[in-house]
Symmetry: C2
Subunit: 584 residues, 2 copies
């Protein structure tokens, strides 16, 4: 090793030792005749000192010439600092350097290698290898590393077998767009990159692997939104001979294990909520439970009082923002403007302010008596100083709008602490989802998700009401993952295909291969997949997954650092027997 | 869970317990009125019993109808067997079944689900999900799982950070052929799949990650030979501020850790051998050290005695096969034929038999006196009963031929035990390799491999003699992995490019991006990559990597199970703005 110690480990105990350190120059302070150099590596920062008189003049000169980010090897004695730095683990010592070798000089980096940098997003992405030198970024990837190791430890100890499924697979017409890979050996044919290992993990259950997991790259050629990546990582799992409860318990265990080992947090039991209640109470299938503000339906209290908008509304929903009664007129106007933005789409916002003196004040006061308003306040158990916010309209849109407003109020009132974690299982998802465009039902999860046994009779009479053995894990309003118990018997599967509008020819064409495998003795099975990038971001208290990916792509799917994708040579295309289409 | 116990865990202790098991029918034996069913899962096999008189007749009937590979749930009492099976961990008990549910029937599998199957390779690959049910196959993938977990444990404990590098990267003209992925968003442009994360891991060193590892899929669009896969898995690593010794120690540590934890074998110290000696002694840069038979050069002893073939040969090489002096004339003729096959290409084979009576007998006896032959025998320290085999010719081809012959003799004499492991570091590889076709030197490893400091002056005078800081790990004659200390300074890199015949424009075009990164403070660094599929095969005592891959592709790069690659729709091609080239 070109060092005896790293830059983070020396303490007073080592005073008097001869050591060799290697690392990068974080900072040079030259006081004329006295030079300090902060030497940095992944493990920490150690101060080097060069002093006129006791340091060889040539060495002093060499030190004076050092620039930021030069790579050094420094030998010397550990000495006690006269002026200690309590904020630095190595702050009690410094190295009196006797030998110095510049292992590599460095050009001035295009932005500051500091926690707070002057580099914009684009510049930092172009020089991602320099951005990764910043502690704040490196720590995110170290967290990711920890998450991976602990996930595997847990899964291994629970008898799951990690199996690598293939990356070069086959394109399927269902779902999102595949990335495809032309085959040279089989000209005119293509591989596809997997959107998930779904088929393979179900096959592994058919194979009797019993418990499978994998931390695996998946690929989707989607039009990218912020915080979507064309390649992303999943914790992918499947289990045999289980019912839903077994899967929830196992992955609740994983979640707790990760919080305990990675964040030092003991989670309480993970709450469960039906999809129906999540929609009713939070207008959202991934409610943020770090705060209350549960919706109340107010139709019974607020209709028939002469306020036409409410009278005509399918649903009147309210939330109570505790302590927001002090909002000024200006703040309330801003809220109203906010809900009226096209992204939210509300027509207006009604509020009831519960004044500190016990009186109630509302924008629609002329339609409602003080007593009417008291009844509303009572429904929320509101107290003086609270603010009730009310929206109305058709059920689905008003739920959506109110959900957004609730989250905004949570933000404004500081109720969404990044260091508080409230995981939740949302269960009993609908099996089918009506698609306006095609005028038929689609599988909400996928066509192999099993319906709840007791709901099967509804398939004919009221398909939209059939609940599935499907579940999502939500943490702080973010969907971390989801899964389902699969259909494993032919009869139920045929019924499902029928209700999804597949002819048996179509079903066979699209899923025939898996269906055939199922005929050779498929066990009852189910599984789940967690979005690993997002899970890491949540653990790190960040909204952005990009920070948790070493070399991310931008919103156009480009890696600006290596400049990819890029044009390739004609010879390569010829070998693959493909050509670019002439632009029309 | 649809079981209280798995099929491998019940013992005499549990006799009297009510249990529920789930699994697959391995075998039904119906003695009329007495039916035994072997129920199998990943964990083992348990015998179910149904007996006329004590078993409900309907249940008995149900049991009689069971077929191979049916999926069952069986409830009943654990009872002691009258006739125990000592070969089965559960062989002392059986289950007297009181309830039986067929969870799924099964079609008759196309081959036997047994350790010894009647299914050929092709059939087993088409129904790989059934092949994976066989214990012998599943155990191989469980070994692979164990290898992965233990590799990560070791690397994590040695402070390596696991970083996932991107799969959608950029095509580079160097090296093997890339698989490419057309971009839809950036039409006319392509991603490429990584042949290895080489660039990224070096960038991570520039980023100060200090120690990186990853178990990662890599891709090469090669014409497939037996035992090559278009996608394969690597243990990929890189370290900063190290010299070669540090890397060898770290990965010798990994190798020992894996043997200890996965195979229960304590390895001795891993031997080291220079490339030059490996070639001289074994004619091969990956010698199998499970047995001796080191080459001896015999030019001094056997030239000038009138045997023209030897007199004209550049090199006369011999090996001594201990105990093979009993080979019959027929066996020796067969050996001679074998070395004369075009795959080996020798012109003939000379032998000296050391008879039990102390006399020596040779095919070239008329040119050499008994004393001449004794001298040769002495060089090998040969004993009565041994056989000396001699080949001659130009150095490189005769080394290659003798290497093949040595391995064959090792096989014939049973010296290549699959349960004996002799790892070896081959070090000091040549930096450059002469390429006859282009008439210039190529980098043997890659253009960033550093030359040994003391050999740099030879770059001008005798480039072929320059040794690199490059090393391979070899186990039992199989190359497991290799790596090098990289060049990290601009001056050495320029010298290298010059000697590889790159103009600075060419160097810039092909490697400019990494070269630029190196200017921002690259630490001295080096790394290694292990072929994980092959490592698993070696650990499992197998020659074939395919058995250690859950869903392998065949020699044409096809997955015959999912039938991939395959044609895709015109619409998909249109979206990507590519088209198939018309066949000419």
């Amino acid at each position: 090793m070109l060092r005896t110690h790293n830059c983070g480990e020396l303490r007073l105990d080592q005073v008097g030792s001869q050591v060799t350190l290697s690392g990068w120059v974080q900072r040079v302070r030259d006081k004329g005749g006295l030079i300090w150099v902060d030497l940095r590596d992944r493990y920490g920062l150690t101060q080097l000192i060069f002093e006129e008189g006791s340091t060889d003049p040539k060495l002093l000169e060499k030190a004076a010439d050092l620039g930021r980010e030069f790579v050094l090897q420094a030998k010397g004695e550990v000495i006690e600092r006269t002026s200690k730095n309590p904020n630095l683990p190595t702050g009690e010592i410094e190295i009196k350097v006797t030998e110095l070798e510049v292992l590599n000089p460095a050009k001035l980096p295009p932005f500051l290698i500091e926690d707070e940098t002057d580099g914009g997003e684009e510049l930092r992405m172009k020089y991602r290898y320099l951005d990764l030198r910043r502690n704040v970024i490196r720590e995110k990837l170290q967290l990711r590393h920890r998450m991976m190791q602990e996930t595997r430890k847990y899964m291994d100890s629970a008898d799951f077998i990690e199996v690598e499924t293939p990356v070069l697979i086959k394109s399927t017409p269902e779902g999102a767009r595949d990335f495809i890979v032309p085959s040279r050996v089989n000209q005119g044919e293509f591989y596809a990159l997997p959107q998930s290992p779904q088929t393979f993990k179900q096959l592994l259950m058919v194979s009797g692997f019993d418990r499978y997991f994998q931390i695996v790259k998946c690929f989707r050629d989607e039009d990218l939104r912020a915080d979507r990546q064309p390649e992303f990582t999943q914790i992918d799992c499947e289990m045999s001979f289980v019912d839903q409860e077994d899967i929830l318990e196992t992955f609740e265990g994983l979640t707790k294990h990760l919080f305990r080992t990675v964040r030092g947090i003991e989670l309480e039991e993970v709450k469960r909520m039906s999809y129906a209640n999540a929609m009713k109470w939070y207008g959202n299938d991934k409610p943020d439970l770090r705060f209350g503000m549960r919706f109340q339906e107010l139709n019974d209290l607020m209709q028939g009082k002469g306020f036409g908008i409410f009278d005509q509304a399918e649903k009147i929903l309210g939330i109570c923002a505790v302590g927001a009664g002090t909002y000024t007129r200006k703040q309330l106007d801003a809220l109203t403007d906010w809900v009226k933005r096209p992204q939210i789409g509300a027509k207006g916002l009604v509020y009831i302010k519960y004044n500190e003196d016990g009186t109630l004040k509302s924008t629609v006061g002329k339609f409602y008596s003080e007593d009417d308003l008291k009844q509303v306040a009572k429904r929320f158990d509101a107290q003086p100083g609270d603010l009730i916010l009310i929206l109305s309209g058709d059920t689905n849109p008003v739920r959506k709008q109110m959900s957004e407003l609730r989250l905004k109020m949570g933000d404004e009132l500081g109720l969404r602490d990044k260091n508080v974690f409230k995981p939740l299982w949302v269960v009993d998802f609908p099996l089918l989802e009506w698609d306006e465009e095609t005028g038929r039902y689609h599988a909400m999860h996928h066509p192999f998700t099993s319906p709840k046994k007791e709901d099967i009779p509804l398939l004919d009479s009221n398909p939209g009401e059939v609940r599935a053995n499907a579940y999502d894990l939500v943490i702080n309003g973010v969907e971390i993952g989801g899964g389902s118990i699969r259909i494993h018997d032919k009869k139920t599967q045929s019924t499902m295909f029928k209700h999804l509008g597949f002819t048996s020819e179509e079903a066979n064409e699209q899923f025939g291969f898996l269906m055939e495998a199922f005929e050779y003795g498929a066990p009852p099975h189910g599984g789940i997949a967690f979005g690993f990038d997002r899970l890491c971001a949540i653990f790190g208290g960040s909204d952005s997954i990009r920070d948790y990916i070493a070399f991310p792509k931008n919103n156009s799917g480009r890696d600006v650092m290596i400049d990819s994708p890029s044009a390739i040579g004609q010879e390569q295309l010829d070998e693959l027997s493909i050509q670019l289409k002439n632009k029309k």
